[in-house]
Assembly symmetry: C2
């Protein structure tokens, strides 16, 4: 376990008692999904997360963690909330994790301290992600938001707060442009909205609202000579 | 300086390298104002802030800091952003502050470390606040948003981000109900909006929009027998 030893040896490398947790959203088969890690030898899943190096900005730390778990660089991500209640009971869980595989780490009390965690959400192109577990986990997999497994710490609450933030910011073009491919139909855009909002939307109203936001560009159809019943394609305007 | 000695002696009481900064907004004389502290012997002002105790939630820490500076309990406050770039250059400023009045503290390197700061904004009833400096500052005063003094650290950026958040959340009733008195006229409400948004609003449109949000309750006028040209008073509906 070189990676763990490195980690334990380098405790001065990180800001103590501060962590970053990332809610990585993808959209696939009309489902909003989130990327989770299965903790080793425990029936628990967790969000990808990590620590902030002393010489590293918090946003850079989140980008680094995301790259390690997904293989993607320059992912769209946003801070959305800090989780810092005194009773996050992180200690008990970390103790379990460490006892199972790394009893030697139990001599390092700094690992077991209370952590304040900065929540980030990321929007990624599902098809481009290469899920990669870290040294505390055995799998890294996508889960549908509606079928989340048993989660460690307060990670269910963190995911819920990330989703609430996503809903509030849905009308900025960034959400759609990060979760949809380059071009898409109005139906596909509506489907993304319906999935995130968990409610059906009326087609005419939706189309009118989207066009009024002035964030979409309609792509002209190529003239093929044949009758063309295919729906229009759209893309987000370049800002 | 008992308070400072206590503070330096009790370094294990706080989560290291983590701070809270509070942007306290009040509304007075048609101006949005923010509460600032004048640092001792330096030509610099700073936001009210402090540290998080090991046994204290981050929201509780913010409430405690707010109460110490304003005398008010149970203030409306919200986290809005974490300021954690690696080059916040906090160290240099803290060094200046400490050198001037408390050279003995320079032997405590933990005071000079990099800090990640959680930004909170608070909405208070201007008339009820009793501004109280802390042990690093000589005055605690209100400033108009448009006439801010020279600020320490990245506090100007923190105030700017708080204002942006306030604008985005303006249509929730909480902003108005915390900055206005119990009852108010539609003109007073419009004036608050115009001040925060820094733009004039059309009276008819504003009134229609506010009423459509279904958050206001109109108070019936008392029948006095005299011709009554006074404007209607409103209050926010109880939720």
């Amino acid at each position: 376990m070189n990676e763990l030893e490195d980690f334990l040896a380098l405790k001065h490398r990180f800001i103590p008692q501060l962590s970053v947790d990332c809610v990585i959203f993808g959209f696939h088969n009309q489902q909003l999904k989130v990327l989770l890690l299965k903790l080793k030898n425990l029936d628990l899943w967790a969000l990808p997360g990590g620590y902030v190096e002393q010489s590293e900005g918090i946003d850079d730390a989140a980008q680094r963690i995301l790259e390690e778990r997904t293989g993607l660089r320059d992912i769209y991500l946003e801070q959305f909330r800090v989780f810092g209640s005194a009773d996050r009971s992180t200690k008990e869980f970390i103790q379990k994790i460490m006892e199972v595989h790394h009893p030697e780490s139990m001599n390092e009390p700094w690992v077991l301290q209370r952590y304040v965690s900065i929540g980030y959400y990321a929007l990624v192109d599902f098809s481009k992600v290469n899920p990669t577990p870290d040294f505390l986990s055995e799998y890294c997999e996508w889960f549908e938001m509606k079928q989340l497994p048993k989660l460690a710490f307060d990670h269910r609450e963190i995911i819920q707060k990330a989703l609430e933030t996503l809903r509030i910011t849905l009308d900025s073009k960034l959400v759609g442009s990060n979760l949809l491919p380059e071009t898409f139909t109005m139906m596909e855009l509506q489907s993304l909205y319906e999935t995130i909002l968990e409610m059906p939307l009326r087609r005419n109203n939706f189309q009118r609202k989207m066009l009024s936001l002035d964030i979409l560009e309609r792509i002209e159809k190529l003239y093929t000579g044949a009758a063309n019943k295919a729906p229009y394609l759209y893309r987000f305007k370049k800002s």
